[in-house]
């Protein structure tokens, strides 16, 4: 459609769309979001990621390494038939753990907070596995390593000792097997 009043784009004071394309540009944004700003943000990201590791190394240097473990009585072996498990706390009252007498007759103990989101893990004797019911995480009862589901890390292993029919917890290993 043509308009008589409309001036051609090569005429003075024209309002032709092709001439006014510059109005589409936002100069402020143009100055703010460019390759220079992108590179600066990238450097900032890199530095921020580097700095984010510092608290971990500071904690490691401050010696948050665990102290010597005490020998703590867990249960009498006679009270724990095969296929059964008992909850205890080790090494502190804030660390729930599970002593398991497996269906094969082995004694195993692990901290029972799931390494995914800390839900309590329990022994499922019909499948002979440790199960976290929150998100269906499965751990191998023989070594505490994840078998299926979201958990990526193994359950901390509680070292046990049987003395005169009593099971004791004597230590803990985080990375094992």
């Amino acid at each position: 459609m043509t308009c008589k009043k409309k001036l051609a784009r090569n005429q003075k004071d024209t309002n032709d769309d092709m001439i006014n394309l510059v109005d589409n540009l936002n100069q402020e944004d143009d100055l703010k979001y460019n390759r220079r700003a992108f590179l600066k943000t990238a450097v900032g990201t890199s530095v921020a990621l580097g700095v984010a590791t510092i608290p971990f190394s500071v904690k490691a240097m401050l010696g948050i390494a665990e102290k010597n473990y005490e020998r703590v009585e867990i249960a009498k072996l006679a009270d724990l038939p095969q296929g059964d498990s008992v909850t205890f706390y080790y090494p502190t009252d804030k660390d729930p753990a599970l002593l398991i007498h497996t269906v094969n007759g082995d004694l195993k103990a692990y901290n029972s907070a799931c390494t995914h989101l800390m839900c309590p893990v329990f022994y499922e004797k019909t499948q002979d596995v440790l199960l976290c019911p929150c998100h269906a995480g499965y751990f191998d009862v023989n070594n505490g390593h994840p078998k299926a589901g979201p958990p990526q890390r193994e359950l901390p292993l509680i070292e046990i000792e049987v003395d005169k029919g009593i099971v004791y917890a004597v230590g803990r290993q985080y990375r094992h097997g």
Binding site: R36, L39, V43, S46, G50, F56
Partner: protein
């Protein structure tokens, strides 16, 4: 050092740092204290390199 090289190094430091943060957190949860220091050290050095390379890039870019 050219501007493109600077871009490459800075992007590389981001990749390295993302991996190092993940490994540091994993080492922390696993109570592997020696590994924490190694990964954290690598990450900090990498961040420092990114900063130096950025200064070099700025020198060339705004010349």
């Amino acid at each position: 050092m050219g501007k493109k090289t600077c871009w490459g190094i800075i992007i590389a430091t981001i990749i390295i740092n993302v991996i190092m943060v993940q490994w540091t957190v994993e080492a922390y949860y696993g109570r592997e204290y020696k590994s924490i220091l190694i990964y954290s050290g690598v990450s900090i050095v990498s961040a420092f390199i990114a900063l130096l390379v950025f200064l070099q890039w700025r020198k060339v870019e705004y010349k």
